[in-house]
């Protein structure tokens, strides 16, 4: 009899996940397992619940039913244990318009408990990685949407998260921006990734798993 290797705990485990908005179910019965380090691409038409799924995984929305386990934490009960381990890149850049990009990143670093000296070094490295060193001291309100997206990418990986939740990560980015962002949030970033996209051609080649959400249809994992 051969001793079986203990099965590693999945980074994400969903069983019958449901999320309602009033009478309408945005997610209904989503089942999924994603191993640590894998990339999941989430596809589906508008209104299929892709962003809702990301927000549930990111502890920003409570599930209405089913089981949700992220990085070993059962949600919503253990959401507090999960905070700080997730990098979230949503539709909104989550940057204060009246602060500069650098000030925003310093603020985020302090919220994540990163000391001043390591934070400065990390911020400088990230700004250089996305080509924003020269514009980092301008107010966010004065920057283009693409530049805000670059800063938002820096914000989402500043604390070196284990899990990246990326909602249309390429939106507003030019070709150069996409290539630079790939270094930080691409499949070689070392993090488990969940990518919501309307551009399967771009993201499917780097996907380990694909989740297709449909309106009034069961979610399908491949």
């Amino acid at each position: 009899m051969s001793a079986e290797e203990p099965r590693p705990q999945p980074a994400i485990r969903l069983a019958g996940l449901r999320r309602d908005y009033g009478d309408r179910a945005a997610l209904d019965g989503v089942d999924l397992e994603l191993a640590a380090g894998e990339s999941l691409v989430v596809l589906g038409p508008n209104g299929a619940g892709k962003t809702t799924l990301l927000r549930v995984l990111g502890t920003l929305l409570r599930p209405s039913g089913g089981e949700v386990e992220v990085l070993g934490c059962a949600l919503p009960r253990e959401a507090w244990k999960l905070r700080g381990r997730i990098g979230y890149l949503g539709h909104e850049p989550l940057l204060y318009r009246d602060l500069s990009g650098r000030e925003n990143l310093r603020f985020q670093a302090r919220l994540h408990g990163i000391g001043a000296a390591p934070a400065e070094a990390r911020i400088a490295a990230l700004l250089a990685a996305v080509g924003m060193e020269r514009r980092a001291d301008e107010r966010v309100a004065e920057l283009s949407a693409g530049m805000r997206q670059r800063l938002s990418i820096c914000r989402s990986v500043l604390h070196e998260p284990e899990l990246l939740l990326l909602d249309e990560p390429d939106s507003n980015l030019d070709v150069e921006g996409r290539e630079l962002a790939r270094e930080l949030i691409g499949p070689d970033s070392g993090s488990t990734r969940v990518v919501v996209t309307h551009d399967p051609e771009r993201f499917l080649p780097e996907a380990d798993r694909v989740l297709r959400l449909g309106i009034d249809e069961l979610a399908a994992v491949s």
Binding site: Y88, L94, Y96, E103, G113
Partner: protein, 226 residues
């Protein structure tokens, strides 16, 4: 978990830096109070006020000016995604409540640095009531900041927040106003300040502060949930 004092300092510093840069709340609050004093001066046709009338004019003006700042307290968090960024961070959410109370407290103190001297010039015959008034201002500001932060966090997700804040805040502020005017009235009495029941009113203000600080601390986490 990031220590709460670090999160508190970060959020407070961010709020004050943004306000200093944009001046969205403070000038409006100060201008409102000065304009209201001018209206009272000509509306009442009096160059000097004392007792309950003086206390009422001062506190009604400060309260309505405070509403302008309270309305905007969480707007950046709501409109620029700051709530999500804070909810994703490993911090005790009561640090956000405490930092917002502190930011509002700073706004109120800055408002009073402008409004109270102008009130004294417009309506008081002597400045003798001003030193003891500082204790009343400090305690009333703390209560108003705690209540205002709580109400503002509840109203910010509503499209009708400009209506909701005064509609909910003003009834809750009635006990605070009764105590603040009760403490201020003898200080501005004709013939110089007296301290009749001054200590009692200060204790009532302190109790109000304590109750709303504890209520805010207890429910704020729940208010941030979706």
């Amino acid at each position: 978990m990031t220590p709460s004092r670090v999160a508190f300092a970060a959020i407070l510093g961010k709020d004050l830096r943004a306000e200093l840069r944009t001046l969205q709340s403070l000038p409006a609050m100060a201008l409102f109070s000065v304009t209201t004093f001018v209206i009272f001066r000509f509306g009442l046709d009096r160059t000097s006020l004392s007792g309950s009338l003086a206390a009422g004019v001062l506190w009604a003006t400060l309260l309505f000016a405070a509403v302008l700042g309270i309305n905007r307290l969480f707007v950046a968090e709501r409109e620029e995604g700051g709530f999500d960024a804070i909810r994703l961070a490993p911090i005790d959410r009561s640090a956000l409540f405490a930092a917002k109370v502190a930011a509002l407290l700073v706004y109120l103190l800055a408002l009073e640095l402008v409004a109270v001297p102008i009130f004294a010039v417009f309506f008081l015959s002597s400045a003798a009531s001003l030193p003891p008034l500082l204790a009343v201002l400090a305690l009333a500001d703390l209560g108003l900041a705690a209540t205002g932060t709580l109400i503002s966090s509840m109203a910010v997700n509503s499209r009708a927040r400009d209506l909701l804040v005064p509609l909910v805040l003003l009834p809750l502020a009635v006990p605070l106003m009764i105590a603040a005017t009760g403490a201020t009235e003898p200080l501005m009495a004709l013939g110089g300040p007296s301290y009749d029941r001054f200590g009692t009113w200060l204790m009532v203000l302190g109790l109000y502060d304590l109750i709303f600080a504890l209520v805010g601390y207890a429910v704020f986490d729940f208010l941030l949930e979706d």
